[in-house]
């Protein structure tokens, strides 16, 4: 009975293991085959030892290393969550309000597509000028701006694909624009919504690190330069590994929720 299910789980597990192996091999290959001093370049083994294995002769223990990096990671994730939440809520609210009026939508849709293609993170200095250096607002604005415009374009697109017949049905039974939106367009836009959320996860992390680095000086982003200046390359590589791993897990978590919800709603699974 569970045979196909077990097979599917087994296959995705095998893919995950294979991917991990490929990524670690690539990492090791970059370290081994490029002409970089081992003082600067750290391989997977060294990062693992740094975080989990205490060398009796070393000056600091693995637990101490973890104690340095854990609070920074938590701080960065909080910053990323702030940007992600603000950006997604703003994108959904804007998209819904735009969709209620067709005229507004016709004006906004090209603009959203246009704004999506401006690399807004690259002008973080402008945002910091507006919000002030080191403020929580700068983190929220930089993080949410990375999330907002791609998500807005995607959600608008999803809402605009609502089935005409269903919309007509709502209208025939006396429903207004709002009823059409909540009963037809929003459920129909779920695949786009999930795709937007999934793709926004790494974006929010990038935005948070950038904000921390250029503005607040806290978290992983704020400490990259310090690690560099103090030649703490173990910390540097370990923080890249931790952030990548956490982001990857979050990304796959959203994908899992997406697959379950869409499957329950009887919608075909969207492509990557």
């Amino acid at each position: 009975m569970t045979h196909p299910f077990v097979k599917a789980v087994g296959r995705s597990l095998m893919n995950a293991v294979l991917t991990l192996a490929v990524v670690l091999a690539l990492w090791q290959a970059v370290i081994s085959f490029t002409d970089v001093s081992p003082y600067v370049a750290k391989g997977p083994q060294e990062v693992w030892n740094f975080l989990f294995v205490t060398d009796p002769e070393a000056r600091s223990t693995a637990a101490e290393h973890r104690d340095v990096l854990m609070p920074l990671t938590v701080k960065s994730l909080q910053d990323a969550a702030l940007g992600f939440a603000v950006g997604m809520v703003a994108a959904i609210a804007l998209a819904m309000s735009f969709t209620v009026s067709r005229t507004v939508q016709a004006g906004v849709m090209p603009l959203a597509l246009l704004l999506r293609s401006i690399p807004l993170v690259s002008i973080a200095p402008v945002i910091i000028l507006i919000t002030g250096r080191g403020t929580a607002a700068s983190v929220a604005v930089i993080g949410s701006i990375v999330v907002l415009f791609p998500a807005l374009a995607s959600v608008l697109f999803g809402l605009s694909r609502a089935s005409r017949e269903s919309l007509d049905l709502v209208k025939v039974y006396g429903g207004g624009n709002w009823a059409a939106l909540t009963k037809v367009a929003v459920p129909g836009a779920l695949p786009s919504l999930f795709a937007a959320a999934r793709v926004s996860v790494p974006g929010a992390v990038t935005g948070a690190l950038l904000a921390e680095w250029l503005s607040t000086g806290k978290g992983i982003g704020g400490n990259i330069q310090k690690f560099n200046a103090a030649a703490q390359f173990d910390n540097l590589w370990a923080s890249v590994a931790i952030i990548t791993l956490v982001t990857l897990l979050l990304y796959n978590l959203v994908q899992l929720v997406e697959n379950v919800v869409l499957a329950r709603m009887g919608m075909s699974q969207s492509t990557t």
């Binding site: 991917t19 067709r102 246009l114 293609s117 002008i123 200095p125 507006i130 560099n228 990548t244």
Partner: protein
Amino acid sequence: MIAQGRVPGWLAGIIGAVGIVLLWWLFSATAFTPDEGTDFTPVPSPWSVFGRLADDGLSAYWPSFEVTLTEAGYGFLWGNGLALLIAATVLVVPRLEPVVVQVAVVSYCLPMVAVGGISIVILGGATQPGDPSKTAIFLAALACFFTTVVGALLGFRAADKASLDVIRVFGGGRFTQLRKVRLVAALPAILNALQIAVPTAFLGAVLGEYMGATDRSVGITLIRLQGNLDSERVWVVFLLCAVIALVGYGVVGLVARFVTPWVSGREA
């Protein structure tokens, strides 16, 4: 979407642009009042920014943009080239597809800022003032890798089954299938991915420049101007960045339309 009397796209775009400038103006006029004794405001009015641009002239900004555009260009070529190559392995070994996707996702989850920190130590920046920064090139390549892999895979899957069968029936092998059907079917998705890669490559280049080790570039110019509280010029550079990203995006879009004229009614 099929509303009657719909505003044509270009007109809506112009209305949108005018709307944005008006919003900006309102924002600059109302949101901030300069502190006593200074005339610093983080959001200068559109007129003062355009006036500043007219006074300085484009040539004052070109040297920085020249470097950044070079970096973005190299990064674009490297990132998309590798992405297409890796996506193409799926054509040879279809079973690799999930792994290729996951590796691309891992590359997408890499924290650009932290990777930049490593890259600035390993690859370094510009060797001489005016040279492109290697870190910026690397980050530009990294930034556009994921979307192109996904776009190309999507394209390779788009091949029409019946057309593939026709080729097989007429005695064509896998290579003929690839050449005559798969690549043609994949073109729209690949070109779409390349279009999105233009602004992201630019973004990656600017992020790489924030890492330092360049003397002349958009990123370092922005940081310097911000340090000097020269908000008018910061806004000028920001606007030029936006214009360049949009022009690049538009040009690739036009090329795509020219190369694949059978794709019509696409929203872009």
